[in-house]
Symmetry: C2
Subunit: 199 residues, 2 copies
């Protein structure tokens, strides 16, 4: 049986290590690059190299940035009295896209998950508390994921932050806009009822 | 609105150029690499670089290979009287995995598709005919995809090859093994009936 040439097999193997990429997709991507214009594989390789060379973490909010402190932490136009706590850098981008938030961020880099062996000390929680002690804020918005781990992290943070005298809020739970009531799961629907608002 | 740092945005853009990768998957892959161990992005970059540096096409069958002629064309143990014609290098791997075929291959690098502006002259058809003239084979198996383009390519090849006095066959059409008769489409079922065999 003839197997793929070593460089092809190796690239398939590298793609397979990425999340959500199975053996079929890995082969498909590899053969696309074999067949496509030479510059495409090269420019993807270059982008990967630059990613690790140029990206660092902001020393204040731990978001990814090209220079620390990051543009958000440096921006004098932003409201420094509110800090929105998120799990991942992607969450910062998601909130920025709403154009509704003008405060600062704090990226935890994960959520508490005993199953995966991730405890509070593995996240940027200590740094958040130091930061609030050094420069007190009026409000901390806990914008962790509405998952088991995200909720556990929010509960833990709430207990840690209340003694600092800061107002602690979390994002509203309810029906997703554009969704269909009959397809909402019972927990979301229960939260939507619980959090109902005067019209 | 804060957007992703340039190297992150650039890698997302590069991933998006790959087939079947949308903006969400591209972000997910990029942030996975930002967060993961540094060596992973570097080793993926290295695999990409090597792909284009070390892979070439076999001068005989046009399969991908590290040295031309490829190991299959060089293998004296293979039956040189049969050539199996496929659209892509991936198809060679698929047929090799069956361990049922011991002949040679010819990779067309595509199929005739007027919609995409791909004509016979864009495929390795001329090379196949030259090859058969130089070293006549007994049988050519047309193993193009069972799609409109694949069938059109097989029809075209059939017309070109018959004058060379070679036996031209194509892969059987029928029910996929493990499939369910009631879910088979009518064309597959009609072909399966048409091609029924004595038990």
């Amino acid at each position: 049986m003839q197997i793929a040439p070593e460089p092809v097999a190796r690239l398939i193997e590298e793609f397979r290590r990425l999340p959500g990429i199975g053996p079929k997709t890995a082969s498909r991507l590899t053969f696309f690059l074999v067949r496509g214009p030479a510059e495409q594989a090269v420019s993807l390789a270059e982008a990967l190299r630059q990613l690790r060379e140029r990206i660092t973490f902001c020393s204040t909010c731990f978001n990814i940035t090209e220079e620390s402190p990051c543009p958000i932490c440096r921006d004098e136009g932003r409201d420094r009295s509110i800090i929105c706590v998120v799990e991942e850098p992607l969450d910062v981008l998601a909130i920025e896209r709403t154009r509704e938030y003008r405060g600062l961020y704090h990226v935890l880099h994960g959520a508490i998950s005993p199953v995966d062996g991730i405890g509070p000390e593995d996240l940027r929680i200590r740094e958040l508390i130091h930061r609030l002690r050094a420069e007190p804020a009026e409000e901390v918005i806990l914008a962790t994921n509405p998952s088991l781990e995200g909720e556990a992290t929010a509960m833990y943070l709430h207990r840690q932050l209340v003694p600092l005298g800061v107002r602690v809020t979390h994002l509203a739970r309810g029906l997703p806009v554009g969704g269909d009531l009959e397809y909402a799961d019972e927990i979301t629907l229960a939260r939507a009822l619980e959090g109902r608002r005067e019209m």
